[in-house]
C-alpha cells in the first residue's frame, strides 16, 4: 500500500517499520545500449506507450575526426522530407543559429575517438496522436581546445505515436559509447 506523506505529498511504496523507503519515482530506465564493437546504428524498438515523455541520454565517441555527426529517425521513417531540424551552437568564439529542411541531423554527436560527446534529448508527448513529434536536445563536446555546446530540436512531421528510435552516424560509434532511454511518467 502506498503511503503518502502529509507534509510533502510524496508517496512511498512501503511505510512498514524496518523497511527502507522505496520511492516510486517517475523516471524509469527502458533500455540501455552500450557499444561493444563499433557500429553505425543504434535502435530502441517496441518502446512502451505507457509514459508521458521520453528522455535519451548519450555519452559516446565517434571514429570521425575531429567531430562526428549523426541522424535520428522515428518508427523506421528515413524519408528526409519528413523531418526538419534547428540548432543553436557555440564553438568557443561565436554563436550560430541554423535550420535544415529535410533534416534529421543530430549535431550533438560530436565526440571523437578520445573526447566524447554528451547529450540529453527530451521527446515530449511521444504517444499523442494530435501532435507532430519534437525532440529537444542539450549537449556538447569538448576537445581540449576545440568543441561545441549545442541546443538542437528535431521535428518529425508525423502524428504517429513513437514506437522506435534509431540513431545513426556516417562514421561509427566506438566501444563503450552509451545510449540510455528513459520513460518519464
Amino acid at each position: 500500500m502506498a503511503i503518502t506523506s502529509l507534509k510533502s505529498g510524496i508517496s512511498t511504496r512501503s511505510g512498514m517499520v524496518g523497511n527502507t523507503l522505496i520511492y516510486p519515482g517517475s523516471y524509469e530506465s527502458i533500455a540501455t545500449v552500450t557499444v561493444s564493437t563499433p557500429v553505425s546504428s543504434i535502435t530502441f524498438s517496441s518502446i512502451p506507450a505507457t509514459y508521458t515523455h521520453l528522455q535519451l541520454r548519450y555519452f559516446g565517441g565517434n571514429t570521425a575526426a575531429p567531430n562526428g555527426s549523426g541522424f535520428i529517425y522515428f518508427n523506421g521513417d528515413t524519408t528526409g522530407t519528413n523531418y526538419y531540424d534547428h540548432a543553436l551552437y557555440s564553438d568557443g568564439a561565436s554563436a550560430t543559429s541554423t535550420a535544415d529542411a529535410n533534416g534529421n541531423n543530430l549535431p550533438y554527436l560530436l565526440g571523437d575517438l578520445n573526447r566524447w560527446g554528451v547529450n540529453i534529448t527530451d521527446i515530449l508527448d511521444y504517444t499523442n496522436t494530435n501532435k507532430y513529434k519534437v525532440a529537444r536536445s542539450l549537449g556538447g563536446h569538448d576537445g581540449n581546445g576545440n568543441g561545441y555546446v549545442l541546443l538542437t530540436s528535431n521535428l518529425w512531421k508525423s502524428t504517429s505515436a513513437i514506437t522506435s528510435i534509431n540513431i545513426q552516424t556516417s562514421q561509427s560509434f566506438i566501444q563503450y559509447s552509451s545510449f540510455a532511454l528513459y520513460g518519464i511518467a
Binding site: I10, G25, H86, L151, S153, I184
Partner: protein
Amino acid sequence: MALNLFKIETAEVSSNASSVTFSSIPQGYTDLIVKFSTRETDAGSFGHFGIIFNSDTGANYASQNFRADGASNSSSFSTGSNYISASYGNAAGSTANTFGIGEVYIPNYTGSNQKSVTMESANETNSATAYMFLTAGLWTSTAAITSITFKQTITGIFVANSTFTLYGIL
C-alpha cells in the same frame, strides 16, 4: 541510478485557456521541473507566455533571454516585469499539429532566497524560421513557491492538447 523525479501533476488543455496553474505544490522536494508542450493562438509563427509564482502579478520579475531563429541570434533582458518571459511557443502561423517544447528548472523553491529559474525551449515548425530560447529568470520574492502559473502575455491562448507536467526532484 535513475533520477529521483516524481510527477506531481499534469495539466492538459482540453479547450482554449489563457493560463494554466499548478497550485498547492507540495513542499517536500528539493527542486521542481516543468516540462511543457504548447501551441498558442497568437498571429504569426510564435506566441508569448510567461511565468508567475504565487499569483504575484507585481513588477517583481526579471529575465535574461538568448534567442535563436534559425539564422541569427539575439539577446534581451527585462527587469521590473510582471512575469518571467518564458517562451515563444508555436502559434497560429506554425505548421499544423506542431507544438513547441521546453523545460523550466526551479531549484530550492522552498528556500528563503530570491527564486532563480532556468529554461530552455524550442519552437519547431516546418520552416527555416523557428525559435529557440535559453532563459534565466528571477522572482525577487523570498517566499516559498506554492503555485506556478503559465500565462499568456499578449493576446493568445493555449490551444487544446497543450500540456504542462510538474515534477518534484529529491
